[in-house]
């Protein structure tokens, strides 16, 4: 067990990542932050709509979307991948609705059926293609991605400026798009998420916003997919908003806290992964979860203190 946890070496864990290995780590941190922040922003709305596990479903079912996109376009280009993921996301949502509406199966079971079947189809197609040697998606990559490869990508050069690895730029674009969409459609998203009845009476089409959110979800998940994998993308969707919801009641505060949590968990995660010599994406999620647990304990303790304080005068009175 000793060798499992290496001793905590201050220089190796804290100083070295920012001195000698700076060029390697900076992109990992930026990528981790962008993934967690973009997913987290979308995740806030999922949490409000009690659809956190639809995020889980979509992150799994984009696998067949990617394979089919590859089969159609014969190349693993960015646009093909995003198109495939988007289509797969829509199919998932439609399939969940179909099963739920057309039978008496409850929504939770419908979610489970839809995404596992699509995932199974994806795995079968993937292994069929692999056995012909024409295609390769690393099975591990599907599940936990490889964020460390980000810094190995050849950077995009524009007018002599080295902008950064292409996947980081894509994710940055998605993050900016998510922020812009939230700023522009803030009111609509707020009303449709909190009060569908009011939204309907104001003439907003709930279905349009629902599918729009699902499309945004599919986009950020496919952006996150290659760096953190399907299942850790779920963590990025759920954990930052849960942390934020634990500390703030109002939506603007939650959105800001989500971004803060993304930054903090990425940094902590990087050092954790250097210390323990483990998967960086996994460590980022572990760090994020620990932050949530800290917030959870903190609010529980505060609630207890408030209760004691409220009871204090009576106690004094009793003596």
């Amino acid at each position: 067990m000793n060798s499992l946890f290496p001793p905590f070496d201050w220089h190796r864990v804290v100083v070295q990542p920012w001195s000698e290995d700076f060029a390697l780590n900076i992109w990992i941190v930026v990528m981790g932050f962008l993934v967690a922040a973009a997913c987290g922003l979308v995740g806030n709305y999922l949490l409000l709509r009690r659809m956190a596990l639809v995020g889980d479903a979509i992150s799994h079912s984009i696998l067949p979307g990617l394979v089919v996109a590859f089969l159609i376009f014969r190349e693993a280009s960015t646009w093909a991948m995003f198109g495939g993921a988007l289509a797969a996301g829509m199919v998932t949502v439609a399939l969940i609705e179909f099963i739920h509406k057309q039978s008496r199966v409850k929504p939770d079971a419908a979610i489970c059926i839809a995404f596992t079947v699509l995932f199974a189809i994806g795995v079968v197609m993937m292994s069929a293609l692999e056995s012909r040697g024409s295609f390769h998606i690393d099975a591990d990559c599907v599940l936990y991605g490889e964020i460390a490869f980000v810094s190995l990508e050849p950077p995009v050069v524009w007018n002599g400026w080295e902008l950064g690895p292409p996947s980081v730029l894509r994710m940055a674009g998605l993050f900016v798009a998510a922020v812009a969409a939230i700023l522009v459609f803030y009111k609509e998203l707020l009303v449709t998420s909190f009060d569908p009845g009011l939204a309907k009476s104001l003439g907003m089409r709930a279905g349009v916003w629902h599918y729009g959110l699902m499309a945004a979800l599919a986009l950020v998940v496919v952006g996150a997919f290659e760096s953190v994998g399907a299942i850790l993308a779920v963590a990025m969707l759920i954990v930052p908003p849960m942390f934020a919801a634990q500390l703030a009641g109002r939506l603007p505060g939650r959105l800001l806290l989500t971004v803060a949590h993304a930054a903090l968990s990425t940094l902590l995660g990087l050092h954790l992964s250097v210390w323990l010599n483990c998967s960086a994406a996994g460590a980022m999620v572990v760090a994020g979860s620990l932050l949530f647990v800290a917030a959870w304990i903190g609010t529980a303790v505060r609630a207890k203190l408030v209760r004691i304080e409220a009871a204090a005068p009576q106690i004094k009175h009793a003596f």
Partner: protein, 490 residues
């Protein structure tokens, strides 16, 4: 009792599947090059011990997941299976770390403990924060999984130990099941069968009406956690065969298919286990025939096929059956409307003749002659009317006459009821009666008649056909006129 016997048979099957294990607890030998047909033959002759392992394991897994899944589906905990199957990953890693081998028992214990910890965390988040169930499940799923990933990558960097095959827990490969794994599956299956049979009533009650169960003093929490424990057993022992993601599919899909087919928990458990068994067998077959394909996805696709079958063709809730019912109902209503039109035409001729011209019928219904011909042909197919030799007139058979009388009677009685009892204006009652005339049963018609004092005429002054007219058959055949109810003296 039938269900009990079925469950007993399943248990027996589990034992039988286990029997060859004692003799052939050998490791898998690699499949040699062979054609698909040869492999299919080999599959059904059960020559390979490794195949026997894989098949027995897959089928046992199907039974065990099917049983647990039935409870998940009726308790609306379907995603608990998903969450726990991801959450046990760190337990697998810890079990491996115990003595750095893939000892099934150590991994089983580690994963079960962590699985229960996950289930407990879900409850704790739900009870101490404002987060809803979906968020709690998602948190446990993702954060436990991340811990597992970290442990796995740390193990990869450790010196020594037989680390190969740990990734099998992700996607699963039934061919890599060892005799010990299958034994474990069998023990878990028989254990959960036994517990479910013994405590069937308690689980039934706590699943459907927890409040009542609590009121009569049942320890609901204990039953919940014992179910979670068995669920963790089922998940952990199935992981190697189907992998993390698809375990939840094997838990939910067969159970959901069974849920569509029956309303009784016992029957559902049985069907779910049978579906799981079939899809397990089918998954093992396909992954064996198509060489080196992962087993889990094929199992899931087989289960999905069963689910789709239940979804579309389930006798009561199936989509196709529902369409068929709707279609046959609207066809019946169309036929009855045609019969009614013939009756009206006969009535306008005072029942002197028994033949009605198709042309007159078309004018009455404001339809083309072709449409009327088609309707009459449909009536003919149901032996309710017959076309004359020249094809221009139609006459009702005794069955057709009876149904036509019933429809008109329903219609006019209802109109009368609405005007007399519900004070609806007499020119507003027709549309309502048009709808209800096809639905009223004999008992309610008799009640209506009594209520209306056996009235003879409807609000528009037309005679209401009575029971005598219906029994007598076609008025023209007997040479008497339809005179409405109360004319039994004639």
């Amino acid at each position: 009792m039938k269900v009990r016997r079925g469950i007993f048979l399943l248990g027996l099957l589990a034992v039988l599947l286990l029997a060859p294990e004692a003799a052939h607890a050998a490791r898998i030998n690699e499949l040699t090059e062979s054609t698909m047909g040869e492999r299919a033959v080999r599959f059904f002759t059960f020559q390979d011990p490794s195949l026997r392992n894989a098949l027995a394991g897959s089928m046992l897994l199907g039974i065990c997941c099917g049983l647990m899944g039935a409870f998940l589906v009726v308790r609306k905990l379907a995603l608990m299976g998903d969450a726990l199957s991801h959450a046990v990953l760190p337990g697998v890693a810890l079990g491996f770390l115990w003595n750095m081998t893939k000892d099934p028992v150590a991994i089983f214990i580690g994963a079960t403990v962590v699985g229960l910890l996950g289930a407990g965390t879900v409850q704790l988040i739900r009870s101490t924060t404002k987060h809803k169930e979906d968020a709690a499940l998602g948190f446990v799923l993702a954060s436990f999984f991340a811990v597992g990933i970290c442990l796995f990558t740390m193990i990869q960097n450790l010196p020594g130990g037989n680390k190969s095959g740990l990734d099998k827990f992700m996607f699963g490969q039934a061919a890599s099941l060892s005799g010990g794994d299958v034994m474990l599956l069998a023990v878990v299956t028989i254990l959960s069968l036994g517990v479910i049979v013994v405590f069937y009533k308690e689980y039934l009650l706590t699943s459907f009406d927890a409040g009542f169960a609590r009121a009569i003093g049942l320890p609901v929490k204990i039953f919940h956690y014992s179910l979670m424990l068995m669920l963790a057993f089922a998940i952990v022992s199935s992981l190697q065969a189907v992998g993390v993601v698809l375990v939840s599919a094997m838990l939910v899909i067969p159970a959901a298919a069974a849920f569509l087919l029956t309303d009784r928990l016992g029957m559902m458990l049985l069907l779910s286990a049978i579906f799981g068994l079939c899809s397990g067998g089918a998954g093992a077959f396909f992954s064996f025939v198509g060489r080196n394909l992962p087993t889990g996805p094929f199992m899931v696709l087989a289960a999905a096929g069963l689910f789709a079958g239940a979804l579309f063709f389930g006798p009561r809730h199936g989509i196709a059956s529902r369409w068929w019912r709707q279609w046959s109902r609207s066809a019946r209503i169309q036929r009855e409307n045609a019969l009614k039109a013939i009756y009206h035409e006969l009535e306008s001729g005072d029942f002197v003749t028994e033949h009605v011209a198709l042309q007159a019928l078309a004018e009455r219904r404001r339809e083309t002659l072709e449409e009327v011909r088609r309707q009459v042909a449909k009536l003919g197919a149901h032996r309710q009317a017959s076309l004359s030799a020249d094809g221009e007139t139609v006459s009702l058979t005794p069955e057709g006459w009876q149904r036509a009388c019933e429809i008109v009677r329903n219609h006019r009685l209802w109109e009368l009821y609405l005007t007399n009892e519900a004070q609806v204006a007499s020119d507003h009652v027709h549309e309502d009666a048009e709808i209800i005339e096809h639905v009223l049963g004999e008992a309610s018609v008799l009640q209506l008649e009594k209520r209306l004092n056996y009235a003879r005429r409807d609000p528009h002054g037309k005679l209401i056909p009575g029971l005598n007219d219906i029994r007598r058959g076609h008025a023209a055949v007997t040479g008497t006129r339809a005179t409405g109810f109360g004319s039994s003296a004639s």
